[in-house]
């Protein structure tokens, strides 16, 4: 792997990546209905990426990553989406890895990073708790130092893919006396440790993407503390850098609009002026989301950094995704009563599946109301 990907012209890199993906991503895994397949389902794809050295696009090359610039990473993500590649359990790659690379000890890097790249460790992220969702600072899961180990007690919830992960990085309270945002630390926990219990939660789509994770006197070696004690809040906030743009990616809305168009053609709805008017609004919203997304992408391409204003994309993209899927149900008329797919000439449209799926992105990654709070303060400078 001596190719300097960043040195390739954008279009050449795009072509190389596309060609390889088409050859190596199993056809039956592309355009999966399931949003979050578990590791076993996508193992072949995961391993193909690992072998090629393309699993961790933004990690530095010394740790087995591709070392892509934000600009090249945009292309990687765009093509991944465009080719319908399945999402892999990527918490280790997109969260644990960057966390350790920036804040981990040398020993932690040496121990954990190669095992993420090899697929031996599948990570999940333990942030939310039953009483600490958007208000993450009020988390209560505790870690108390006892000799050479922390003893962890408490519960995490909405932990995506915890049931197929073997490691979790958790935010824990290590100082009860400090202000809410202080006194939080990051621990790396082996989920096979005694006292860890995982229960899946079925979501609206009938799938079990996320879980509850219980900690009952779980002993975690003290050297699994990342960064300084009580400094976890700062660390947790720093993990997502330019990747915040992807929360506002048009991909989901694009896919849904494509489905809506196919359904509409099948049902003859483009002959109906009222539908065309509604469809036109959605189509143009998607088009304009593309223009706005491009504006932020340009900042990254020219080596700049994103400001807090990028949150606007997340709000717009997720609310648009919802509206498109709502229109599908309108178009379905009485068939909107069914849970299974709508049949069209030569195929099917998973209208209900998408409608239900569209509820989630407006909630996760910081609910859209939290995003508006951030914009109000950090960008508009409104008073408290």
């Amino acid at each position: 792997m001596s190719i300097d990907w960043n040195g390739l012209p954008d279009e050449e890199f795009r072509a190389v990546f596309r060609a390889w993906v088409l050859d190596n991503c199993p056809a039956e895994l592309r355009y999966l209905r399931k949003q979050r397949p578990v590791y076993e389902e996508v193992e072949q794809w995961y391993q193909a990426l690992a072998e090629k050295g393309w699993l961790a696009p933004v990690w530095p090359r010394e740790y087995g990553g591709m070392g892509l610039s934000p600009a090249k990473h945009m292309i990687y993500v765009e093509e991944w989406g465009r080719l319908g590649c399945p999402r892999i359990p990527d918490h280790g790659i997109s969260l644990t890895g960057p966390l350790l690379i920036h804040h981990g000890s040398e020993a932690q890097k040496t121990e954990f990073l190669p095992k993420i790249i090899s697929g031996e460790h599948i990570w999940c992220q333990g942030y939310s708790e039953p009483n600490a969702g958007s208000d993450l600072a009020s988390l209560r899961t505790s870690a108390v130092l006892d000799g050479d180990a922390f003893v962890v007690n408490g519960q995490k919830i909405w932990t995506t893919l915890a049931h197929c992960a073997n490691w979790i990085f958790v935010l824990v309270r290590t100082d009860r006396e400090a202000k809410p945002q202080r006194g939080i630390s990051v621990l790396l926990v082996d989920m096979t440790s005694p006292g860890v219990e995982v229960r899946t939660i079925e979501n609206l789509r009938g799938e079990a993407d996320f879980c509850e994770v219980f900690f009952d006197n779980v002993r975690v070696p003290a050297h699994n503390l990342v960064g300084a004690l009580n400094d976890g809040w700062t660390l947790a906030k720093s993990v997502l850098g330019h990747e915040r743009i992807f929360l506002g990616s048009p991909t989901r809305a694009e896919y849904a609009l494509d489905r809506l168009g196919k359904l509409a053609s099948d049902r003859g709805a483009f002959e109906d002026a009222a539908f065309v008017s509604r469809y036109a609004r959605l189509r143009l919203d998607l088009y304009d989301l593309g223009s706005s997304y491009e504006r932020y992408a340009k900042v990254l391409r020219s080596g700049g950094e994103l400001g807090a204003d990028v949150s606007v994309l997340k709000i717009f993209a997720t609310e648009l995704y919802q509206r498109i899927t709502e229109e599908m149900l309108t178009l379905a008329q009485e068939e909107a009563r069914f849970n299974d797919d709508l049949l069209i000439e030569g195929g099917q449209i998973d209208a209900m599946n998408l409608f239900l799926d569209a509820r989630a992105p407006a909630i996760f990654g910081g609910s859209n109301e939290i995003q508006r709070n951030i914009l109000a303060k950090a960008v508009l400078g409104l008073p408290s």
Binding site: F270, V276, S277, Y279, A280, R281, R283, L284, Y287, D288, S291, S292, E294, R295, D309, V312, I315, F316, E369, R372, N373, L375, A376, V379, L380, L382, P383, S384
Partner: protein
């Protein structure tokens, strides 16, 4: 605050922004809009001539015609700044659209005369090229002594002040582009008040005879017309995005300054979220305009056309939405004529409906995209 973000290596765009801002210091937009309304006038001639002196009128005309040979990028920046300052003028029509038409016709003494006058502000060259919504058009008969025009054209700005109209007429199976003197015999004008205080006119031509040397172009002129109108739409979109940007900025400041229940209005979360939505609309409008500018510069006709429809639709809706919400957030003050914020909404409504309102442009976008 929301801005057209475009590469500006040589600093020209920044300079243009500054020059509009300086202009607005001396001639505040809301004041001249009110004066225009009071006088029931169709054009603030002094303002227009100062704009011409600043080099903004005929900016896109080639140097050979006395223009600055600048592009839609520079025009968009000026139009956005004019929108922000609420400097109401027929820049999109009597400068951008007329210049685009004059650029595209073959050279002639008449073309030279019009272009020179347009740039200097001595001729007010007003396009009368789009069909009225009643679908009526102008027919032409070619005679030995010139061309005889009959018919109607609607929705014309600055018609009373016009020295010349660039009028599109149909002669058999070809189009003619004719420059018609503002005071031609057989040309009647009917004026109606525009929502923002200006005047919008319709023209009736009955046996209106125009000299043959005033025929600027003939043949199938649809492509030329459409390309020119799309430049004007882009300028309108930029102006609308500017109106949205400034109406948002004024509202933000007002809600920060205004205190109720012992706190600034802008400290209430319900209003913060609304302000974020207004800001987002203005931002999206600006991005859409930048996208249209870039597509036009890239020169792929179809992509450019779609981008222009999208930008005009987005900016029109954004300016009207921000304007309506702004009035509400200004409270009772917002409903008074004295408060300038209402002028932003009225101007937004006027420009939003000009040369294709958002809904019809969106449908046109879909039709062209699906036809491909």
């Amino acid at each position: 605050m929301p801005q057209l973000i475009m590469a500006d290596e040589d600093g020209v765009l920044e300079m243009l922004r500054d020059s509009v801002a300086a202009f607005a210091q001396g001639r505040p937009g809301p004041q001249s809009l009110r004066r225009l309304r009071g006088a029931e006038a169709d054009l603030d001639l002094a303002q227009w001539q100062e704009m011409a002196a600043a080099g903004w009128v005929g900016l896109m005309l080639p140097e050979a015609l006395g223009g600055a040979d600048l592009g839609i990028r520079q025009q968009a920046v000026i139009s956005h700044a004019l929108g922000q300052a609420l400097i109401a003028s027929p820049i999109a029509t009597a400068s951008v659209l007329s210049s685009a038409l004059l650029t595209r016709v073959a050279d002639s003494p008449e073309r030279q005369r019009l272009a020179a006058g347009l740039v200097q502000g001595t001729c007010i060259v007003v396009p009368a090229v789009t069909a009225g919504s009643d679908g009526e058009a102008v027919t032409a008969r070619l005679l030995a002594g010139g061309v005889l025009l009959d018919g109607r054209r609607g929705f014309i700005e600055a018609a009373r002040s016009a020295s010349d109209f660039l009028l599109l007429a149909r002669a058999g199976d070809e189009d003619l582009l004719v420059s018609v003197p503002g005071n031609a015999e057989g040309l009647e004008r009917a004026d109606r008040p525009g929502v923002d205080g200006g005047v919008i006119s319709s023209l009736r031509l009955s046996n209106c005879l125009v000299a043959g040397e005033r025929i600027l172009a003939r043949g199938d002129l649809r492509g030329m017309l459409e390309a020119s109108i799309n430049l004007a739409r882009t300028a309108l979109a930029a102006e609308l995005a500017g109106i949205a940007s400034q109406a948002f900025a004024l509202t933000r400041q007002y809600t920060i300054d205004r205190k109720q229940f012992g706190k600034p209005l802008a400290s209430f979360q319900v209003l913060q979220h609304r302000l974020v939505d207004l800001w987002a609309e203005a931002e999206f409008a600006c991005s859409a305009v930048v996208n249209a500018v870039e597509r036009l510069e890239q020169g792929h006709e179809r992509e450019a056309r779609l981008a222009v429809y999208a930008a005009k639709a987005r900016a029109g809706d954004a300016a009207a939405f921000v304007g309506r919400q702004a009035i509400h957030l200004f409270g009772a003050m917002g409903f008074t004529d004295e408060c300038d914020i209402g002028l932003y909404l009225k101007r937004a409504i006027n420009l939003g409906a000009a040369l294709g309102q958002p809904e019809s442009l969106r449908v046109q976008f879909i039709q062209e995209e699906r036809a491909a």
